[in-house]
Each structure stands twice: as structure tokens, then as C-alpha cells.
């Protein structure tokens, strides 16, 4: 009794995917993973060049006699869209910058931009870039104060027109103002802005504002005193000097 041949087997080999298709899928997968790994591992360095008063290695904007000067070293980790940073700035910001400009302390602003992600905009990055543009024009301190003084609801963000207005308020005009506008439009310091965030990551700072005086991180209790009472600054600086 000869059994009839099984035609289905033939059908399977003809109906299955050709080797080229399987090969194509495998190649696609390898390329996909490769491209993703490449995209994920690029960047993340600290070697970007910043504006005129920035420290190397994404170390932030230094105001005052310098990081090597024999005065109290104050580092502030902040994000231009962080409401509590605004509270701190509006409370003790003027005093701190006055002390720095008088050479009594050195003040370093580590400007982070991580809030862009949670707020779904790019205002932290753009404001940080604009502040560096202002630094190039020598008006970092008044510009920095203007950003926080005009902060809206969290998530509202900032426009380029606001940046230009604050640069004007700080005294820029004519060619200087045009250079500032170009710097804002070109996002000139984007790499350094990212380096500042990367440096904050490496410093293990996950919240803003964080204030470090001579290497000691100011605790929550002292931070809330600083935000509520401008008069608390001297004693807190004294306690950590």
C-alpha cells in the first residue's frame, strides 16, 4: 500500500520565509541595537568650553575673587525653572552676589537643566544658555536675578524675547545686544550647559537648590531659614566657614 506523498511538507518549505527575509530581519535588529547604543553613549563629557567666567569641567559660573581665593566658597546648584531656587534667590541672592563682588566670598552657580524633562519644555536649557551669553557680555549677575524675579508658574517657561528684555535691562545695547541675541538664537553654549548638568550628576546632586559652603552641604532646616529670612545668611555662612 503506497502512501500518497505528503504535499503539505513541500508547501511549508515553499510558503515559509525565504532565508533572505530572515537574514534581513537579523541584520535590521543588529543595526537597530547598534544605532541605539551609539546614540546613548555619545556625549556625557565635561570638556565643553563655556563663557567668560565659567570654570573648566562643567564647573559652573564663578562670581567673585575666584575658586582659589582664601574666602568662603559658596556653590549653588540650581535650575532656572525651580521655584525653590527662585525663593532662595529672591531671599539671599542680592546679598550673596554683593558679597561676591566685594570679594568676601566666591560664589559659583552650577546651573542645571534637568527640570526640562519633567516640565516637558526646554526653558531650563535655554535660560542657562542665555545666562552664559549674558556672562560673555559681562552682565551675568543682573541677568541671573532677572530670570528668577520674573519667574512665572512652574512649567510656564521663558521666551527668547524675555531673555533679550532682561539683557537690555542689564544695560546691553547696540552691537552687544545683537551679539547676545545671536548667542541666544544659536544656543551657543549648549554643550557647556549639558556639561554643567553632567557635573552636577557626578557630584551626586539630585535636588535643587543645593547650597554647598566650603564643601559642606547646607541641610534642609538651614535652607528653609535662608529662603524665609534673608538675615539668616551671615550666621549660616559663619557656621560653615
Amino acid at each position: 500500500m503506497p502512501r500518497p506523498p505528503a504535499p503539505e511538507v513541500k508547501q511549508v518549505s515553499r510558503g515559509g520565509p525565504p532565508l533572505a527575509l530572515i537574514g534581513g530581519v537579523v541584520v535590521l535588529l543588529v543595526v537597530l541595537i547598534g544605532v541605539l547604543v551609539w546614540a546613548a553613549t555619545r556625549g556625557g563629557g565635561l570638556d565643553a568650553t563655556g563663557s567668560s567666567s565659567t570654570l573648566p569641567d562643567g564647573g559652573g559660573v564663578s562670581v567673585g575673587p575666584g575658586v582659589d581665593a582664601d574666602v568662603a566658597q559658596v556653590r549653588i546648584y540650581e535650575d532656572f525653572q525651580c521655584p525653590w531656587c527662585g525663593r532662595l534667590e529672591n531671599s539671599v541672592g542680592d546679598q550673596l552676589t554683593e558679597k561676591a563682588e566685594a570679594g568676601e566670598v566666591n560664589l559659583t552657580f552650577q546651573i542645571m537643566s534637568f527640570l526640562d524633562g519633567s516640565l516637558g519644555n526646554d526653558s531650563s536649557t535655554r535660560a542657562a544658555n542665555a545666562a552664559l551669553c549674558a556672562d560673555d557680555a559681562g552682565v551675568f549677575v543682573p541677568f541671573h536675578a532677572s530670570v528668577y524675579a520674573n519667574m512665572g508658574q512652574e512649567g510656564q517657561g521663558y521666551t527668547d524675547e524675555q531673555f533679550v528684555q532682561w539683557a537690555q535691562d542689564a544695560g546691553l545695547a547696540g552691537g552687544e545686544l545683537e551679539t547676545f541675541q545671536q548667542c541666544v538664537a544659536d544656543d551657543t553654549h549648549a554643550d557647556y550647559v549639558e556639561a554643567m548638568q553632567e557635573r552636577a550628576n557626578r557630584d551626586g546632586v539630585t535636588g535643587t537648590p543645593t547650597m554647598v559652603v566650603n564643601g559642606t552641604t547646607i541641610g534642609n532646616e538651614e535652607m528653609s531659614r535662608l529662603m524665609q529670612d534673608p538675615g539668616a545668611l551671615d550666621s549660616i555662612l559663619e557656621a560653615h566657614s
Binding site: 520565509p17 530572515i22 541605539l36 546614540a39 556625549g43 524633562g117 519633567s118 550628576n201 539630585t206
Partner: protein, 185 residues
């Protein structure tokens, strides 16, 4: 091929004779709505789409991605850098596989594991009272206490985990590359 509930109509095996032109492997697809197939397709597109979007937001801002891993205060910088870098790679790869329906079960396992890890992370942050935004979509980071949305984020991830689990159990879905590749088998 583990198809729990095989024999209950649409979920049956896929013999060559039941393969339709669109590549769907559901015998009940003709005439009657093959609802498990539709559920699987929706699960694939939703979970896959969410993973691709979440991964893309992270991969264009790796520094921010690393920051949001650090914000959980569970890892040192080096570990956080590795996690923050590789997380979007895994998310996008698993997401694209799910959307196209290629290696559906493996991709669904990866997607479900990611969701389980996210849920554990958020619960741990909540338990420790960290005022943290979950880094599931792009950058998390500390936020004002009143802005933390632990519960809604956990519920969202539980929902996505359920979609992933469905696909692990029933990886055969209509309009998938898997169906195209196994056509006639």
C-alpha cells in the same frame, strides 16, 4: 506553543489552512470578531508605542536620563550612568519589536520586566518619602511634594505591565511580522 485556553474558538492554533491574507492566525477572524487578536494588537501598539516614546525622550537627553536614575538615590554615579544609558536602548528596541510584532513574546517579556522594575522603583521612592518625579517619561527628578504623582504613575505602569503579560501569554497577534514570518508553518 503554549496557548492557554486553546480550543476556545479564536485562540486556537494556527494551521496553514487558517492563515488569512492579512497574516492573521485566528481562525475566527473571518466573519466573527477575533477579540483576543484585537486585544493583543492593541496591547502591542500601546505598550510598544509608550516604550518607544519614553525611550526616545531619554535617548536625546542622556545626561537628563542619568540624572533621573540618580534621583532615586539607589545607585552610585557609575551604575546610574550605565542604567540611564542602556535603559532607553532597551526601551526603544523592545518598543519597536512590539509595534512591528517581531519576536513579540521576547519583547513583551522585556517590556513587562521594565514595567515591574519601574513599579518597584516608584514604590521604593514613595516609601522613602523622596519627592521625586518618576523618570518613566524622560527626565524625572526632585519635584515639589504636592506635585508627586506616585499612585497614578504606579497605576499606569501596572496597566502597561498587564498589557505586557497578556502578550507574553498570547504572543500571536494580527498584523505582526511574526505572523508574516511563520506564515505557512
Amino acid at each position: 506553543m503554549s496557548t492557554p485556553g486553546a480550543g476556545e474558538g479564536p485562540a486556537g492554533g494556527a494551521g496553514p489552512s487558517t492563515v488569512t491574507a492579512s497574516g492573521t492566525a485566528y481562525p475566527g477572524a473571518r466573519g466573527r470578531p477575533a477579540w483576543p487578536g484585537v486585544v493583543g494588537l492593541v496591547a502591542r501598539l500601546v505598550l510598544g508605542g509608550v516604550l518607544v516614546v519614553a525611550g526616545t525622550i531619554k535617548i536625546v537627553d542622556i545626561t537628563g536620563s542619568v540624572q533621573s536614575v540618580l534621583a532615586y538615590q539607589l545607585f552610585s554615579y557609575d551604575v546610574a550612568r550605565f542604567v540611564g544609558t542602556m535603559l532607553p536602548v532597551v526601551e526603544i528596541a523592545a518598543g519597536l519589536l512590539l509595534v512591528t510584532g517581531l519576536l513579540t513574546r521576547a519583547a513583551a517579556v522585556a517590556g513587562s520586566l521594565l514595567m515591574a522594575v519601574f513599579i518597584v522603583g516608584i514604590v521604593s521612592a514613595w516609601a522613602r518619602g523622596l519627592t521625586i518625579d518618576c523618570g518613566c517619561f524622560g527626565t524625572g527628578g526632585p519635584v515639589d511634594p504636592e506635585d508627586t504623582r506616585y499612585l497614578s504613575e504606579i497605576l499606569r505602569d501596572v496597566g502597561l505591565l498587564a498589557l505586557g503579560a497578556w502578550l507574553v501569554v498570547r504572543p500571536r497577534t494580527p498584523l505582526s511580522l511574526d505572523a508574516l514570518l511563520t506564515k505557512g508553518r
